[in-house]
Amino acid sequence: MKAKITVTPKKAVLDPQGKTVQTALEHIGFTGIKDVRIGKYIEIELEGTDREAALKSISQASHKILSNPVIEDYSVEIE
């Protein structure tokens, strides 16, 4: 199994990276960009086949270690 976790800065929280990249994209000619947010993408290769259990444990891990709940949100997908 593979777990895919995306971690993104919370909406209300400043995302300096996103802002800077947005400006850079505009500068090199990409138009029509309203907003850029930059987060993390984590892929975890798991043993076993119990997807339910995996979802539960990975969600827990996301909350505890993979994300910083004070400033970030996360979402988990098991594949």
């Binding site: 800065p9 400043l14 400006t23 910083n68 004070v70 400033i71």
Partner: protein, 778 residues
């Protein structure tokens, strides 16, 4: 638009405003405040902004000297003349509560805030320091906080491009859940470049520069002025502030460029705690003017922000600039060059009032001077804490002397508070800007000021400092919460003395100081007693060392559910080294050099022989008790003056002060603290003979923390001169040994009257000391 809540007693209380304070607000306004105004009063009258509980105490600090160009309390930071038309601006500030909530960003934004305070003065920041406190490092949660805080400081300072050149870190249970993060910054400027935070010139436009305002750290100042409980951390309204050091670097460069544009800037102030609120009413109050701003012109990151939110937001990296009329285009040109947002948001008026409009509608109208200057002042009750009686009664002779001195030293060198902090400072860029002459790892850091350290001059202006100028500034920051807990007055004197001693060891004379008072809830008379007595001690000692206080910061309400932190005043001292040749480091230099102890080996008048509150007592016996070693300021000054005189005479090759861990730790560090590159320490051995020293206890002799002691080394032919000079200055001085061979076989040998000769392998001791933090953290 959402409707503002009605003003009820509950709402007033939620804003931390007492009924008496509310009466005062009614008087000042002549009416009821609206919601936005209530918010404004609450942040401006919080302890963080108003010093309402500490103002009377802070008056005791010495704040004047011939060299002080801008004194404490006048502006965002004090400024001191260092000769040749050069001046330095420096200050320290805490970010304790934000760091408890989010260690990385809390510490990062703390660094950002203090850097802004410095360039607001027109100075170019050239170095930073930090003073940190955490709980017991064996706890994973403490490790998380420690890692986060250090990472945050590194992130901000490194990216901004400022060398973080010194600091201190201590670990003690009392800081569990309430870490202390005090950040210091120093900048340089020419005398004529001092900028003021005053809204001068009726009719002048007011500019907002820097990133857009979001709902960041809403009411952070008020938050910093409450006890830190789990509930308050959870409840902190608004989003955690995220620092953007890249943005700050651009804002600084643009501001310095604008300040160099002739006559363009009338006043400038950073938006720190209480953001737009504080910067507008303080600048108006300083100039005796009024200010009117239109909130719809404030760049906003979030949609639907209310006036209350905009005024109280603590979004980072923003500045308020009052521009001389007719120079608006300069702002546009420079901020566009740096691709920075800017907006003209208001105007200076002659009404003396701070008027805030939103889409033309007045949402706040307050007399600026009254809110900025007429904050309430409280004389809190104070009572000696009950534990003090026990402390006074405690005698170390209730414990038996050590029978394992060899192991004790090994253990002490590994205790996190004493162990090498290389795990910390190697994460900080401490060399950027080509000025780091003595890097972290010696008693005080030394930074070089050179021509390009300075802010730019106006186009075509003649240089006002001599060509090829070089100046050397030494810095150190110190604090010892345990000493201050055990004896707030005497302990605080020691804090200053130790810091000054670090400077003396590096060859510097103090210029001035800045402090950060980290204490508990002032409403508790016992905690207020600690604060009061501590300030008295600090003030007395700062005067004794000619180190006037140019500014600082107060952080109260530092408690966790178990109680208050140890009272922790931290003090940063800045000094000048007259000549390059006087720069001195703490490590032994050459085989055959004579090692001399300046000061008493043991203070025999101290019933605890220097062991009260010592690192040894805590690490070995788990005892935090007993009156700490006393510091006689006269004696201390004599030792420091002697050290300096010997350095200036060219007799001294190394100087290291005895502090935590006492003489044995000091000697060990002198043997192994030089490090030339990754995995390349430089070792010296030392053969020490203390058999002539009378001490009733071996542990007191080796690990006691008797004050006013410095270990120096000198070439054999200068030893006599040092001893003669010491005698002439009535400072005890004893030859205690010789520097011996280097390399892998180096040993530290200590002979005492009571024990057989102790011998340690220097590489082995070094490895314990050098790797202790990494072993826990990596």
């Amino acid at each position: 638009m959402t409707k503002d809540p009605a003003i009820t007693p509950e709402l007033v209380a939620q804003h931390g405003i007492t009924p008496e304070e509310y009466e005062n607000i009614l008087k000042i306004l002549g009416r009821e405040p609206n919601y936005t105004e209530l918010g404004i009063f609450s942040v401006m009258w919080s302890e963080h902004c108003s010093y309402k509980n500490t103002k009377p105490l802070l008056k005791q600090f010495p704040t004047r000297s011939k060299k002080i160009l801008v004194g404490a309390g006048e502006e965002n930071a004090g400024i001191i003349d260092i000769g040749d038309n050069l001046a330095i601006a420096f200050k320290m500030e805490s970010h304790n509560h934000p760091s408890a909530v989010e260690p990385f960003q809390g510490a990062a934004t703390g660094v950002g805030g203090i850097i802004r305070d410095i360039f607001t003065m027109g100075a170019r920041p050239i170095c930073a320091m930090n003073s940190l406190r955490f709980g017991n490092l064996s706890s994973p949660e403490v490790q998380r906080l420690f890692r986060g805080v250090v990472g945050g400081i590194a992130h901000y300072g490194n990216c901004f491009g400022i060398p973080t050149i010194a600091g201190e870190v201590c670990f003690d249970d009392s800081y569990e859940g309430n870490p202390l993060v005090n950040a210091f910054c120093l900048g340089v400027l020419r005398h004529e470049q001092i900028a003021r935070g005053a809204a001068k010139g009726i009719g002048n436009p007011v500019f907002y520069v820097g990133p857009a305002t979001g709902r960041d750290g809403l009411a952070g100042a008020a938050f910093a002025s409450q006890d830190l409980t789990e509930a308050s951390a959870e409840q902190q309204r608004g989003a955690v502030q995220v620092g953007d050091p890249f943005m700050e670097k651009l804002v600084m460069e643009a501001c310095l460029e604008l300040l160099a544009a002739k006559d363009a800037v009338a006043g400038i102030q950073d938006m720190g705690a209480a953001g737009l609120t504080c910067s507008t009413c303080e600048t108006a109050a300083r100039a005796g003017t009024g200010i009117e701003i239109e909130l719809s012109k404030v760049p906003q990151r979030a949609t639907g922000m209310t006036p209350y939110e905009i005024m109280l937001s603590e979004s980072q990296e923003r500045m308020l600039i009052i521009v001389n009329k007719g120079h608006e285009a300069e702002v546009q040109r420079i901020f566009d060059k740096w691709d920075l947002p800017w907006s003209e948001i208001g105007v200076v008026t002659d009404t003396g009032r701070m008027v805030v409009k939103n889409h033309g509608q007045v949402v706040a109208n307050i007399p600026a001077a009254k809110i900025a200057n007429d904050s309430p002042v409280y004389h809190r009750d104070s009572k000696e804490p009950a534990y003090m009686q026990g402390v006074r009664a405690y005698r170390v002779n209730s414990l038996s002397d050590t029978t394992s001195p060899a192991k004790d030293l090994e253990m002490l060198l590994q205790t996190p508070t004493i162990a090498s902090k290389n795990w910390v400072y190697r994460q900080y860029d401490h060399m950027v800007r080509d000025g780091s002459v003595v890097c972290p790892g010696s008693d005080a850091a030394v930074v070089r000021i050179k021509g390009d350290s300075l802010p730019m001059l106006p186009d075509g202006a003649a240089e006002s400092v001599p060509a090829g100028i070089e100046k050397f500034i030494a810095l150190s920051v110190d604090g010892n919460g345990v000493y201050v807990y055990l004896d707030p007055y005497e302990g605080s004197k020691t804090v200053v003395a130790e810091c000054a001693r670090n400077l003396a060891c590096s060859g510097a004379t103090p210029l001035g100081s800045t402090d950060n008072l980290n204490f508990g809830n002032p409403h508790n008379p016992e905690l207020f007693f600690q604060l009061k007595e501590s300030v008295r001690g600090l003030a007395e000692a700062c005067a004794a060392f000619n180190a006037p206080v140019t500014g600082g910061n107060v952080s109260l309400y530092n408690q966790n559910p178990m109680g208050a932190i140890d009272p922790t005043p931290t003090l940063a001292l800045v000094g000048l080294i007259e000549k390059k040749e006087h720069i001195t480091t703490q490590w032994f230099k050459d085989e055959g050099d004579v090692i001399i102890l300046l000061g008493d080996a043991v203070d025999s008048a101290d019933p605890n022989l220097g062991l009260g509150g010592s690192a040894y007592l805590m690490a070995k016996h788990d005892v935090k008790n007993g009156l700490p070693p006393r510091c006689d300021l006269k004696k201390e000054k004599a030792v420091q003056d002697l050290t300096l005189e010997c350095i200036r005479s060219g007799w001294i090759k190394s100087a290291h002060d005895c502090s935590e861990g006492g003489l044995a730790v000091c000697l060990a560090e002198s043997c192994f603290s030089k490090n030339v590159a990754l995995n390349t320490p430089v070792f010296k051995g030392a053969k020490i003979d203390l058999s002539g020293v009378k001490s009733s206890r071996l542990d007191a002799l080796l690990f006691g923390e008797t004050q006013s002691r410095v270990v120096v080394s000198t070439s054999a032919d200068h030893a006599e001169q040092v001893l003669a000079k010491a005698q002439a200055s009535s400072v005890p001085a004893t030859v205690i040994g010789k520097v011996t061979g280097c390399c892998k076989a180096a040993t530290l040998d200590i002979t005492t009257a009571t024990a057989s000769t102790l011998s340690w392998s220097i590489p082995a001791l070094h490895s314990l000391w050098w790797n202790a933090l990494a072993e826990i953290m990596d």
